[in-house]
């Protein structure tokens, strides 16, 4: 079945593999070839780049693209969608909460004014449901966030259904009382709201599982880290029963020239392509070559789409041999400034952040190795909170949810925080506590049937971002206990990193609202044990906030690549860091092509230089900017990481 005959195409995969480019190019191609089909390209990534890819401004409203009459684009902005949703259903949701709990109007309003962690995915599901309901489009192309958060998005319809069930339970109490006192029950707007939400979420869930209408297309680069991540993604898709029939293998080097840089890269890729063919043998493989220029704007997107969908051969500038290049490569790729200034004795927490696929994990790992070597007396912890971890793949060692000592290095530890598991444990603990509290009461011959079930199920209402708060608490626990001296944080891609940085404040706002209630109802309910735990958690979060904003203890390192789309994302990140008051003095521009003399590399390098100049012009006064070279091989495994570390921190 062709892509044009489907109703929903989802492009996903590791950051920097070309999800957005592929989604936009396929959208543009199908719109041109099927003028009667109405196509919408939607981005659910909080760090949007659909507009940058089409080279026009796309907002949170459905925007027509170029001169095409049947192509539209939309970038979902969670906050705005949430505020629209709230405005529309605020009174109904409050009514349900008021009916189902013992809180008064004021208490409920306090809670409703707070922001919800993990809002992006929830609003994406609601927005898609709205679009489906309107039936305005024949085909929706969804450009997703990097893997970790896409997995979360795909599981959300099921979770949201649970939310509706809990709200229905709250409403049941009201229905019961109405029937009891008046003898009958007439459905009202709250019932209608629950019915509507249930139907909408069901529609999204059904569409995702529909093997005929929906297809998930993973986009992959022939790199070990991307292959591992895609393997995990496909396993999740199978679990959710979402159909995936083909894979796009992007950025395949096929220059066939004599440039040693290109040929080395090609050789590495050949090995990985073999693994891909073996690992994903059951899927249809589409191969796309690496282009010597950025894919931005309608013309280049069409060129990309023709290669992908028509199998059109591409004509890139032929490579030429350059004299004595092989020996010159590493002298060329030396960074112009010393990066060693980044390593400071007093800094306790380093955060590496940037767009997906810019090399955050490699640089964070290399920094951790260097730190452990320079300060043998200090204990270093390298950790990640991204649901799609890649430390294990980067080191080539099994680093899991438990503190793992990196082989042969006594003072370096790795940790991939499984925040999902932590959240599950917390939910279990909560349910046990509630059950215990009610059992005490029940022992005296009294039961509160509705409230017991509502309170037990209330934890199912947890927003999807709560797991990240749990991860944060774990790190603060280590800091509190003084377990490590240096913490190196390999973060998620920009969009979700920003959400993560907002998290401490959101958590504290929620805790403050709970404290207010506990003080207000201290004569009625006394949850001493729970209150003490919440105070402890609030202190941890406050401490984390203090550390994050303290320039003597925390350093944020922004990583980018010399490409327009990555630069736009980097600018957003820098602005957000200023807003959060998180100290950041360093920008690393990674993957800068060396002067190889090869035509293919030169064409790419020319574009890179333009972007680097722009970055320098805009940021040189406020930040230290370092360029890191692109290596003709993958940086994977301790040996290569050590080599990489030596080259950048020489």
């Amino acid at each position: 079945m062709k892509w044009s005959e489907r109703s929903l195409l989802i492009f996903g995969g590791k950051g920097g593999c070309g999800k957005t480019t592929s989604a936009c190019a396929v959208g543009l191609y199908l719109a041109q070839h099927y003028p009667k089909k109405r196509i919408l390209v939607v981005s659910s990534d909080p760090a949007h780049s659909v507009g940058d890819s089409f080279d026009c401004s796309v907002g949170d409203t459905v925007t027509p693209i170029k001169d095409l009459k049947n192509l539209w684009a939309l970038e979902i902005k969670a906050e705005e969608e949430a505020s629209v949703f709230k405005r529309k259903y605020d009174s109904v949701m409050k009514k349900i909460a008021e009916r189902g709990t013992y809180f008064d109007r004021q208490d409920i309003e306090n809670f409703f004014s707070l922001s919800i962690p993990g809002l992006d995915e929830v609003m994406a599901v609601i927005k898609i449901a709205d679009i489906l309901k309107e039936k305005r489009f024949d085909l929706i192309i969804l450009d997703t966030a990097p893997t970790g958060h896409t997995i979360r998005l795909l599981g959300l319809p099921g979770q949201m259904k649970k939310w509706v069930e809990v709200m229905d339970l709250m409403q049941s109490k009201h229905r019961f009382l109405a029937r009891h006192f008046t003898g009958r029950y007439k459905k009202d707007d709250a019932d209608e709201f629950l019915r509507m939400i249930n139907k909408d979420v069901d529609r999204v869930g059904r569409l995702l599982k529909d093997r005929i209408s929906t297809e998930f297309i993973p986009v992959i680069k022939p790199e070990a880290l991307a292959i591992e991540e895609t393997g995990r993604l496909l396993a999740v898709l199978k679990e959710y029963k979402i159909s995936a029939r083909s894979i796009l293998i992007n950025q395949i080097k096929a220059s066939r020239n004599e440039c040693p840089f290109c040929s080395k890269e090609e050789k590495e890729q050949k090995k990985e392509l073999g693994i891909i063919r073996q690992k994903f043998a059951s899927l249809e493989l589409h191969q796309i070559p690496a282009f010597p220029h950025q894919i931005k704007g309608a013309d280049r997107l069409m060129e990309y789409a023709r290669v992908l969908l028509d199998g059109k051969p591409c004509h890139f500038p032929a490579g030429k041999k350059s004299r004595g290049l092989k020996s010159r490569i590493f002298s060329i790729i030396r960074p112009p400034q010393k990066l060693s200034q980044l390593i400071r004795k007093d800094v306790m927490l380093y955060i590496f952040g940037g767009k997906g696929g810019v090399g955050k994990t490699s640089i964070a790992s290399a920094t951790a190795l260097t730190m452990a070597r320079i300060y043998p007396a200090k204990k270093v912890l390298l950790f990640s909170t991204d649901p799609a971890h890649s430390l294990t793949d980067s080191f080539g060692l099994p680093i899991g949810d438990n503190l793992t000592q990196v082989e042969r290095i006594k003072n370096l530890f790795g940790l991939e925080i499984d925040s999902r598991k932590m959240l599950e444990n917390f939910k279990k603990y909560y349910k046990d506590e509630i059950r215990e509290a009610f059992d005490k009461f029940l022992g005296q011959g009294v039961n509160i049937k509705f409230d017991r079930e509502i309170l037990e199920e209330l934890i199912s209402l947890t927003p999807p971002g709560l797991d990240e708060i749990m991860a944060l608490a774990k790190v603060v626990e280590f800091i509190d206990q003084g377990k490590f001296d240096i913490y190196i944080f390999d973060s998620a891609a920009t969009g979700h990193l920003l959400r993560f940085l907002e998290m401490p404040q959101i958590a504290r706002d929620w805790l403050n609202a709970v404290f207010k209630l506990l003080i207000k109802y201290k004569g009625v309910a006394r949850l001493t044990k729970q209150a003490e735990e919440m105070i402890r958690f609030s202190r941890k979060t406050r401490k984390m906030q203090e550390i994050l904003t303290d320039s003597t203890r925390c350093q944020f390192v922004v990583i980018g690549i010399p490409e327009d789309m990555a630069k736009f994302e980097m600018d957003d990140l820098l602005e957000s860091l200023r807003r959060f008051k998180i100290p950041c003095h360093q920008i690393l521009v990674n993957m800068v092509l060396p002067e190889t003399g090869c035509n293919f590399c030169e064409a790419k390098r020319e574009e890179q230089i333009k972007v680097i100049k722009e970055i320098n012009r805009e940021n040189a006064s406020a930040y230290r900017i370092n360029r890191l070279p692109l290596f003709p091989y993958q940086i994977k495994g301790i040996e290569r990481l050590n080599e990489f570390a030596e080259k950048i921190y020489r």
Partner: protein, 199 residues
Amino acid sequence: MAPKKKRRRTKKARRESHEAELGRKILPFTAGKLPFVSKTMPQAASVVPLVSKEIPPIAKTFPQFSAITNVTIPKQWGKMPGKKWGASKIQPSRRLGAKRPKDIGLFNFLGKLITAPYQPVEMVKALTAAIHAQAEEEEDPKVALKLQLLELKMRREMNEISEGNYKIEETKLKRRIKNFEQKVKVTKQPKKKRKKKRR
């Protein structure tokens, strides 16, 4: 002389003559009869229960009292099949004023009717016991001080008081708790000594 009554041929004779006419033996007609049921085989009604699932005694799962006003049910009314309640599938409690269901025996009903007025008293007793326990706890100065300390911590987290003021208040409260604990120790010790002297 009355004509001789024609003797009716027996069933067997009729069949035999008919067989003679046909020139073959007629087999007994069995179609339409129920299949043979052995005496040892259980009857269908005893194999298939009327209710597919055994209903657990509801008195165990049902609350004796519901906290919702006027929704009190006697414990022994449990055998009533409850209505399913909306999507949540919660079985509702029945109110006291409900009519007697058909499946409850008169004797049983009368018994419940007599004990019903006393049952709310039990609930009130249980609640007052809980309130009493809480009041006793609150009367304990140590508990009250600890609660004050907890509230202070919450107010600090909410940024209602500054770190400096929090420290002052915290030390005050902690000192009071410590003093109280010491007092309790002192008052307990002499009693033991006196007992020893008497011996």
